[in-house]
Subunit: 325 residues, 2 copies
């Protein structure tokens, strides 16, 4: 079985770990979001790709869900002593080594997809991890700024997420560079040759949304022979983690399991989804999703450990199996 | 009193710490060797500048004489796990932060002299630390290599020093790029305006020698109004630390206190030195140095702590005081 997965950070990574546990023989291709990437202190940081790589490779900080286990912060402390800005993003020492290797390879001319493959040669994540694009796509968020011309300014996604904790209202989410970008090698093929396409409970706007903003990816999803099944990132009206509600509001989508499904749309009506999983607590929303033309089931969505993540992955593949076209 | 000092790494740094202790009111300009600099994992490393900066700034690993106190090696361990080469040069986490800041500033277009000043804003070494040049000068060492065309090849100084421990015979020492380089801003002025010029017991070939290879520096030293006094890096026929004997052999100079003085030469005969300090154990060589036209004294040279280094600095300045032209 060939499975293609579009993935953001923590939610995507945990879902993938469950998927690998549930279907150890499956060939899994992961199309990772790179619009969160940022250059800090001259080092190229790819938070979502690394979260997937560390989680599947056994190196992740388990409680945190991202970053490295047994991490130390000597380099960051020294950068602070040098008064280097910014200090609102803290890089761990072990993590920094990844960025040093990546930056050196990028500077030497390797595309991000080749760099990611080289890093994965160490981590052996058991999936084929592909960046959505080798070109730079960068999510900017428009927020209030009384000092700026027009009263608003655009900040890098990480500044909005990490420094501002997504507290200011977001007026717009812009995937800068997306229009000029192309899918990385293997991305379209992974989607068109898959037996199942899955959307894990990643952020619909700044993770899945930015992947879909790369020209060719949404089209490949729409035209894929395989059924496309998604998992709601919203449970009982709130994001399982992160600030999906803030960025959904920016694009005019209500924070509910059904509203996100309707936002993606039914494939039979030109949208992206054949099936959608909502949490058992959102059972009352199943009908609304079905009304939109999307097959829907209510199952437990919370991934508290690998076993619950594997059960969720089985539910997603099981739903897809009933939807083969 | 204005003092200009040409300095390599550990010996130069310890001498400077003594000098600052002995003459706290002196304005000290340090012209640091940069021909040992190396780019590792995309990070620009300046071992001699950093040794001076850390030693005078209170951050040095005291026993080792270079690198940072309380150092950890998480990044290097991770680079090894990624199988990144080389692994014969180990960078500490705290030290890496310095190289990250430097690399980012160099990439942004700042010259090394401006970068060094910025780094020193944190360390406050109490001296003005100047790289010998803002241009890249790189010491290469020619060694045997049966696999190379002609049976020899040139390796970077650090590979010879750190990986090979200077064990292979060195056939030539080449300061690549020196001929095209210019002294960094302030270097010539520091020499011409000094009241005293000092050569600490740094390596005569790969530290002082490479500084002197930058066109204009040796001439400024020859023409300086101030007396020039050096301290022998050779005591009782052997280098106090490092492998000076190996690189002295490469340029045909015997490893003795007197031979190094003769190699530098007497200013009155077109050389560089007015005065020379040898260790009390080398008292028998004083006459030979004097015969070459260089004033010479035998004093204790070993810098076992700040007090002995300060005593040595006093001896050097004292010798210079008697040599005012």
């Amino acid at each position: 079985m060939r499975i293609a997965v579009l993935a953001g950070g923590v939610g995507g990574a945990r879902f993938l770990r469950g998927l690998r546990e549930a279907f150890p023989a499956a060939e899994v291709s992961v199309i990772g979001n790179t619009a969160d990437d940022i250059t800090l202190y001259g080092l190229r940081v790819c938070p979502d790709l690394d979260t997937v790589m560390y989680t599947l490779g056994g190196g992740v900080h388990e409680d945190q869900g991202w970053g490295r286990a047994d991490e130390t912060f000597a380099v960051q402390e020294e950068l602070a002593a040098y008064a280097v800005q910014p200090q609102w993003f803290r890089l761990g020492d072990r993590d920094i080594a990844t960025h040093v290797v990546r930056t050196q390879m990028l500077d030497a001319g390797y595309p991000l997809s080749a760099v990611t493959e080289a890093l994965c040669a160490r981590w052996k994540p058991g999936v084929r991890l592909l960046p959505m694009s080798d070109e730079r796509v960068e999510t900017h968020v428009v927020v209030d700024d009384p000092d700026a011309e027009g009263g608003r300014r655009a900040v890098h996604f990480q500044e909005y997420w990490v420094r501002m904790h997504a507290q200011p209202s977001a007026y717009a989410i812009v995937a800068v560079g997306a229009e000029q970008s192309r899918p990385a090698p293997g991305v379209v093929e992974a989607l068109t040759s898959a037996d199942v396409v899955l959307l894990p409970p990643s952020n619909p706007v700044v993770s899945i949304g930015t992947i879909l903003a790369v020209p060719g990816i949404a089209a490949a999803l729409r035209e894929a022979a395989a059924p496309v099944v998604g998992v709601s990132p919203i449970v009982a009206g709130a994001p399982v983690r992160g600030y999906a509600d803030k960025v959904l509001a920016a694009i005019g989508v209500e924070s509910s399991a059904a509203a996100v499904a309707v936002h993606y749309g039914a494939r039979e009506h030109g949208g992206l989804l054949d099936g959608w999983l909502v949490d058992t607590r959102d059972d009352a929303q199943v009908a609304a999703v079905r009304d939109a033309g999307i097959t829907c089931r209510a199952v437990p969505l919370l991934m508290t450990d690998v076993a619950t993540a594997a059960a969720l992955a089985r539910d997603a593949v099981d739903l897809a199996s009933g939807l083969r076209r």
